[in-house]
Symmetry: C2
Subunit: 251 residues, 2 copies
C-alpha cells in the first residue's frame, strides 16, 4: 500500500479545513497529488425542518459550470442520479451500470466532454432525510484516469464530504410530523400499492377508517396527495425502502 501515506496526508489536510476556502485549497491539492485535473464537491443538506443549505466547491471549467447552473442540469445529471444508487465510488464510464442512460443523458455527457471534462470518479454519499453529496475527481478529455489512485480517491472523497457536512452544519433531527402507529401502517400499505379498501382488509378495520388515517397523515405533512405522503414518510424514515421493496418487484 504505497499510497497509504499520501491518503493519510490528504485526508488529514482535508478534514482540517474549517472554511470553504481551505476545503477548496485542500481538495485542489489532493486532486493534483492523485493525478486528477479537476474536482467538484457538492453537498446538499435538507430535511429536519430548517431550510436546506448547499455547498459547491469545484475547479471545473467556467464554460461548463455556467451551462450546468444556467440550465439547471443538476435535475437531470446522470452522474448525480448514479451517485444516489451506489455505496461506493464509481467511474463515470461505468455510469450505465447503475442507471439507464437516456438519449438526453448521453448528450449531456458529450457536452461536458466538449467543455473540457473527460472521465472521472465520483464518491457519493446519500442520506435520505438529511443530506446528499458527492465528491468527484476528473481528468481532461483523452487523459487517462489514474486507476491506481481510485482507492485513495474513495477515501479522500469520503473525508471531504464529511468535512463539508461539518462546515454546513449537521443540524439536529426534528421529528416534525411523526405519524401514529396506525397512520404509519396505512401509509406503508399504501406505499405497497394497496388501495384503502385492501388496506382495510389487511388491518381488519373499515375502509373509511383507513381513509381517515391517511387523511390525517396527509394533513400532518401538509401534502394534498398520496404520492407525496409516501415520499414524506420515506424521507422522514417513518417507513423504510426495504419495507416497500419486496412488494413491488415480485408482483
Amino acid at each position: 500500500m504505497k499510497h497509504f501515506n499520501l491518503t493519510e496526508e490528504l485526508a488529514h489536510d482535508i478534514s482540517g479545513a474549517d472554511k470553504e476556502e481551505r476545503l477548496f485549497a485542500a481538495l485542489s491539492n489532493a486532486a493534483d497529488r492523485m493525478g486528477f485535473d479537476l474536482f467538484a464537491l457538492a453537498f446538499d443538506r435538507r430535511g429536519g425542518g430548517g431550510e436546506g443549505a448547499s455547498m459547491l466547491v469545484h475547479n471545473y471549467p467556467d464554460a461548463w459550470a455556467n451551462v450546468y447552473v444556467g440550465f439547471d442540469l443538476s435535475g437531470t445529471d446522470p452522474i448525480r442520479r448514479a451517485g444516489e444508487k451506489s455505496m461506493t465510488g464509481f467511474q463515470w464510464r461505468n455510469v450505465d451500470h447503475y442507471i439507464p442512460l437516456s438519449r438526453g443523458d448521453r448528450q449531456l455527457l458529450k457536452v461536458a466532454r466538449e467543455s473540457g471534462i473527460g472521465d472521472g470518479f465520483t464518491v457519493p454519499r446519500h442520506l435520505p432525510g438529511e443530506a446528499t453529496g458527492s465528491c468527484s475527481f476528473a481528468v481532461a478529455p483523452n487523459a487517462r484516469i489514474p486507476l491506481e489512485m481510485l482507492h485513495a480517491a474513495e477515501i479522500v472523497g469520503a473525508v471531504a464530504l464529511a468535512a463539508a457536512r461539518q462546515l454546513i452544519g449537521t443540524g439536529s433531527y426534528t421529528p416534525r410530523a411523526a405519524l401514529t402507529e396506525r397512520q404509519r401502517e396505512c401509509v406503508l400499505w399504501s406505499a405497497r400499492g394497496k388501495t384503502a379498501g385492501e388496506t382495510a382488509s389487511i388491518l381488519g378495520i373499515s375502509e373509511e377508517t383507513v381513509v381517515r388515517h391517511l387523511k390525517i397523515a396527509r394533513e400532518r405533512y401538509s401534502v394534498p396527495c398520496r404520492q407525496m405522503l409516501i415520499l414524506c414518510a420515506l424521507f422522514d424514515g417513518v417507513i423504510g425502502f426495504s419495507d416497500v421493496y419486496d412488494w413491488w418487484r415480485p408482483l
Copy 2:
C-alpha cells in the same frame, strides 16, 4: 491510533472470508476483540431484475432471533429504519436522532433488551436499487459499550458488508424498464405532487397525453398505481430523491 493494527487485522480477516461460515467466525472474533458481545450482519440484495438474495449472520440469542423472525419484526425494526437514514455508524441509544420513535418502536427495543441485547452500534450501507445492509455490534444489557472501539467497528462493519456483498454476488444492473424522456418527466412531476392536469400545463401538452405517458410507464413496470410507479422510478434511479426533495418541503 493504538487500535489501528487491530482494525487492520480484523478487516483483513473478514475480507478474506470466502464462505458464510468463515464470515461468521471472523465477525465473531472481531466482535470479541473489540469488546462487544454480539454481532449481526444483514444484507439484502434486490433490484436489477434478478431475484433478491439475503444473508443473515449473527450470534444473537435464540430467543430474540425467534421473536424477530417469527413476528417479521424487520418490517418495523427502528434500528433498521435508522440505518436507512445514516451514512455513518450510530449508537442505538441515539436512534431517535435519526427517526421518530413510536410507542411500538420503544416496546420493540424493550423486548430486545429483555432478550439479552443491550446497547449497540450499527454500521449501515444502503444502495437504493441494489442492496441494503447493516452490520451491528452489541453488548449485553447493562454492559458498557466500548466507545473507544466505535471507530474500529465502523471500519470492520463496512468491510464485513463489502464481504457479504461479494459472497452474495453483486449481479449486474439490467436497465429493465427504462422510461422514455417524456414518461420520466411525467413521473417526476407526479412525484412532486402534481396532478395530470397540472403536469400537462407545466409540460405544455394535453392532460390526456400526460395520462397516456403515465399509463404506459405503469405498464412498463407492471404496477397498477401511481404510488408504486414513483417508487419504482425512484429505486431504478430514473428519478432521484433530490429531484423531489425540493418540492414537498418548501410548499
